[in-house]
């Protein structure tokens, strides 16, 4: 039986930006790169492994191009984190042209257990890029202001 193709290729990473944090989602499909970027966003605040994906929150946004859509997606999550007092650890993203619909699963933040390092103020257009790499994987990245 063949292994699930490319699934293991989806991942996230942080990159350095002077005062703040750069985040990069990587995946075989653009939607997976967006999901991974969301995980990288949570990792700025707390270890995603410690967040119970108990409660779903629906998110939708729209922007004129994939880069602005990435920033909108991350800002929508930042808004939900701030106004609901939640952290998220599981994401499902569907892209349809300029429209994104998604579900984020998470739980209310508990300072003692999650040890949240910092709250994210907003996703920025700095080091913003959404592009398919020569190896076929999508990269979706930007710097977030903390």
């Amino acid at each position: 039986m063949a292994p699930p193709p490319f699934r293991s290729a989806a991942r996230w990473e942080h990159f350095a930006h002077g005062a703040d944090v750069g985040l990069r989602g990587i995946g075989p499909r653009l939607s997976e790169a967006f999901e991974q970027a969301a995980l990288a966003l949570t990792a700025v605040v707390t270890d995603p492994a410690g967040v119970d994906p108990a409660r779903p929150v629906a998110i939708a946004c729209e922007a004129p191009d994939p880069e602005l859509l990435l920033v909108d997606w991350l800002n929508a999550l930042i808004y939900e984190m701030a106004t609901r007092g939640m952290v998220f650890s599981r994401f499902r993203v569907a892209l349809d042209g300029h429209r994104l619909t998604a579900t984020a699963w998470g739980e209310p933040v508990e300072p003692r257990r999650h040890q949240p390092a910092v709250e994210v103020k907003g996703a920025t257009y700095t080091a913003l890029a959404v592009a398919r790499q020569p190896d076929g994987l999508w990269h979706a990245q930007c710097v977030v202001d903390v």
Binding site: A19, Y79, P111, P116, A117, V118, G122, Y125, V143, D145
Partner: protein, 477 residues
Amino acid sequence: MDTAQLTRLNDFAWRIEPRGPMRVPAILYASEALIRDMDQKVYEQVTHVAALPGIVDAAYAMPDAHWGYGFPIGGVAAFDPGAGGVVSAGGVGFDISCGVRTLTTGLTAQQLDPAGRRLLAEALFTTVPAGVGSTGRLHLDGAAMDAMLAGGARWAVEQGYGEAADLERVEEHGCMAGARPDAVSAQAKKRQRNEMGTLGSGNHYLEVQAVAELYDADTAAAFGLAAGDVVASIHCGSRGLGHQIGTEFLKRMVIAAPEHGIHLPDRELACAPLDSDLGRDYLGAMRAGINCALANRQIITHLARRAFAQVFPDARLALLYDVSHNTCKEESHDVGGQPRPLFVHRKGATRALGPGHPDLPEAFRSTGQPVLIGGSMGTASYVLAGTATSETRALSSACHGAGRAMSRHQATRTWQGRALVDELAARGILIRSASYRGVAEEAPGAYKDVGAVVDAAEQAGLARRVARLAPLVCIKG
């Protein structure tokens, strides 16, 4: 940054000649050592700013400049509305009107024995909400939110937070004129609903400090400072409301730039003509954000007074001054010998009005404006004063802090939060924080040498040193 790209004006001033799309030169104030340590991105960003429509005089970088968003952090730029000038959401930043206020306490460091210091740390930590997800006691909706956005610290005092005498010691006398609550979205207001009177996180703090060194005893006395005095400093901004205003207007300005005929070499430079509906809406919303920050610091002041009173009933917390370092303000400046109304962006830069300026409260007319420079948990903060040369150097502006030397990721690999708290406690500095990881990310060693930054600011004539403050207790956001 390679100094070969710069024209050296003197030991503390460097110039980038206008070339390509640059409309004005760029001027950087720093020692050679600070310039060499400065990110090359500062060069790129300050030259981009110099190319924006309607920029006047020069694009400036302060000694603590580092890679920001479109504009460098530690950047100053003024625009003429009559010459197609612009206002930029990125040039103000996400944390609108983030700033520092310092209060004298009437206590001396000797009175803060180890036991008293511990009690004070606990009282402040339990009284002032800090850290991710913390909420205030005050919940604003509808009309109350709009009144706060229009009234700033003045509104807070009217609600019983603090004293009328505080307002004289806040920029704009505690209330930014021209705020338009109607230009602030429902989302931004919702994000702020439970966040009034909270410190936030990241580099925000409430710190109890001792006056460790005086550089100018007369000016210090005029500021109410003597060696060995205890003061309290609050560093925070406009919380979720400011962040949401920044987020929303950045996007609107990016999308509208082509219709305004503005070419953006970097989307983060997003801006709109001052003379446009979008520019006016942003100014109205941003000014409401300034009021939110002023009200927030006023409420936290009230909470700090309560906490101090629990432990030291004789303490009397009086506001020295409150400065904002992420703003765009309409000011009159001399350009080519003529006063001109300009919109001055200061992103990670503090206003530094010199002696005699009409906007200064009477107490500071002869000394110049107090300029409050935040440090990091284990190092120093500084009180400076605006000088007679501040105006001609950089439109009456100075630095705002140390600036990071190391990324957060690198800091967490270098330090452990708990060990750091213990190490600082052994030095007599008590840290209280909800997050050890947050403490590690804010390790003092992750910041540049704030002493070198203020020394350069003084040598460059931006502001002069009055006092150095050493930390005793730090409530980390």
